[in-house]
Amino acid sequence: MTLAQFVPLLPEIFLAVAGFVVLLLGIPMGRRGVRPLTLIGVAALAVTAMLVWLVGRPVDGPEAILGGMLVVDGMAVFFQLLMLASSAVALVMAAGFLERSRYGGGEFVSLVLFATLGTLIMASGGNLASLYVGLELMALSVYVLVGYFKLEVKSNEAAVKYFVLGAASSAILLYGISLVYGSLGTLDLEEIHASLVAVPSANPMLVLGIVLVGFGMLFKVAAVPFHVWTPDAYEGAPTPVTAFISVAPKAAAFAMFMRLFFGAFAPEVEYWRMVLWVAAAATMIYGNVAALTQNNVKRMLAYSSIAHAGYALMGLVAANQTGAWALLVYMLIYSFMNLGAFGFVILLESKGYAGEEIADYAGLARRHPAAALGMLIFMLALAGIPPTAGFMGKLYLFAAAVEGGYIVLTVIAVVMSAVSLFYYFRIVAQMYMHEGLEEGVIPAELLRDRWTGAMIAVCVVITLAVGIYPAPVVGWAKNAISAFGL
């Protein structure tokens, strides 16, 4: 082993070191350190992104490193850059919120960095073992982040629920991995794929293993029926953490899903496709219908993110070229529109607490027209109305499903996407059509927080720009997935 072999690993190494540095710096700085540490964290993410770009660029084809533990290919670069960007946005959004709270900044920033490191490995893992390690690194950091407000009961409750269910799902995933290993004798994705291509197997142990791995992944992307942790974890977690976990870990889970099912298990598609079909349909229906009655915005966005996982699963069900790049595009779009929407939840304060109720939005358009317009754009995007990016993202997923011939699934998706408009527009109606001046109602105030505001502006720009001119993103995603022989 020479030093040169570690060059492709530079981004991961750098980020790990940065995480520890921030952790150490956080001890003396305490609560005052939130903003400087955030800046250091963002700088670290930016440098990592640059390294990812430099390492990923000269590669002609996919390059396996460390004996196939990690793979550097177009898809890994796409997902890694996406996750680094969305983590940076979430981090900056969190700064003001953390400063207003009574908790320090050091651990928070370093945990976000470690979680991001986990997501990077999930996106580039070429081996079941390395993927699992990445997943656990991400998951453990996120459990702590959810319980970060250690004196709040809700935050603790959410962390415990998330941890117990997450650990159980990891066990299922691990059991599935062991069954796959038992039947094929290898953990390497390439080798699994090669041996399944050579001898398509109906071995029940293998099929069970694949299905159990699928269940584990469905838990991580919060698909029905493995979604029950989501609303509680999202509601209980500090809002910036909710914003973070609804985006980067979810995108990473889909990246890993793609590596496993488009890469390794592709020859067994006939066995897992039905499972994912049912999960996708159930997720879209349940997520959207359950969101209809939520009065807490964070819970509503939790169910909405369940529903969005359902749309994204359509790309996996289709299991074709279009499905693969549509999933990439969708994850990018979803990340920024969801972060933007959470940005407003972070900024809203009612009676000294976070403004989490839908009624807190009453009359926002009158008091803060620009903010209301921004929120309107995110709600339109989440509902998939053009000219926002949300429409373009859904369009490609629907196209992938239609190309695959899954018309029934597509019809379910489009009908549910029309249903989703109802709950997103409950917020819009509050902002524009209620005054918030009724007796006994104290409308929430929008905090002045430049950093969060700037990040929201970034999300608005991306949501609109990709919606109006999606060609570059689509072209990039299309190039990125050439690794899969779909």
């Binding site: 000219p387 369009l395 190309e403 109802f422 527009f425 109606a429 524009y432 059509m433």
Partner: protein, 538 residues
Amino acid sequence: MMDFQYGWLLNLICYLPLAGALLMMAFINKENSTGIKTWATLVAGLDFVISIPLWFLYKPDGVEFQFATQFDWIPSVGVQYIFGVDGFSVLLILLTTLLGFIAVYSSFTAIAERKKEYYISLLLLQTGMLGVFCSLDFILFYVFWEVMLVPMYFLIGVWGGPRRLYAAIKFFLYTLFGSVLMLVGILTLYFYNAGGLAALGLKGLGNVPTFSIPYLYTIAPLIPAEVQFWVFLAFFVGFAIKVPMFPFHTWLPDAHVEAPTAASVILAAVLLKMGTYGFVRLSMPLLPDATVKAQGWIGVLAIIAIIYGALVAMAQKDMKKLVAYSSVSHMGFIMLGLFALNEPGLRGAILQMLNHGVSTGALFLLVGIVYERRHNRMIAEYGGLAKVMPIYATFFLVITMSSIGLPTLNGFIGEFLILIGAYNHSWVWALFAASGIVLGAAYMLWMYQRVFFGELTNEKNEDLADLNRREQWTLIPLVIIAFWIGLYPKPFLDRMAPTVDRVLERVVVAMPEAETAADRVAELAAVPGEEAAGEHGE
């Protein structure tokens, strides 16, 4: 197939209101109510003025789509930005720009609060509507089709009546539900043209993937009947909700009753036309086989709409609701004309689309005028208005006559042509259609009688002011057009003739009696192959 001359003009017409709205958003203070009104009127008026050249520059004997623009938008999936119009869309664009201007101009006193947002919504709506009529790429078309819903939702929901929240979301959800199903139809058509739909075992034609509507026209005869059926069904739901056809009409009375006057005018005059526009532009030429097969069913639904709409209108106590239900009846008429699938029927239906826009738009304006004065629309509250508001009564009379189809006015020409078309298809259709005309005359005249004639019984009406100058000017253009179409419809019919001919030419292929149909399919099937061979050869 496309003429790119003056392509910039079409883009300018479409995006001018958007630019105006953005400038207003950025530069005009929300307290500056004069500035807002002046600017909005200026933008909408200018938009109408620059759309007038379309009327003169359009060449009825030229290629199918003129004033075209075309470039790649999302090249990797074959989405293009294609703008272009034929005579039919030119007429609808002129209708839109004129009514857009009137809607702005008529709102000066009706809208008391949040003026800036109101005029911004109106202008954005204008861009959305014009975009629908200009787009010749399915995705572009769909984008405008949905974009348009958002400002309309706000117009109803913010400035509407007491049940505005319910009406606004109902309008949005209904139309959205229809349009997302249309999207599935669009994607099916797209993949059928390209690589096929894998799991259904449906092999595609293997052409270059494209959403271009003019291109897809050429492959229409190659689409098998079964695919046509499902795509037609998906399109049908989208368009039928928009028209609205019975039984998808229930959102319409709610939306109309709650919407502010200008929004009602736009809704009736332009938005409803999008449904019928969709049938003529997309369903008929792209899916001829399914169109012919659906003819009977759609005829039945249209007849139900005509009779049912008229009967319900007759029972209404609220003037605005009466006009709303009369729209259901009139739109049924238009659908009947379209699906007669012959020349007089189609011509009459397209003309009637304009007529309905003019006369129902004017009716909503008129009802809005009296509502603004009394804040009441109940017919029973009025009576003898002709004595206090003679000018108003005159305008109302002319428009009523236009709506019920009195000769010399526009409604007559449209209804007459539709009747001929319906009769050519089947005398039963003509019979029902004629009875609808009788019912239409009955409820309109009865309302007119109750509102304007007799003694002035309600003392609140005694000192109602007659129309002021501005209100008269919102109505005069519509009255002029009503007489123009009624007395000399030829320019209008000339402009739509190429569209009518081409649509019929494409539909006739699928008609059972057309002997040449089989030959034509074979001939068209040969074309793409030859073209490909030619390209390779060169």
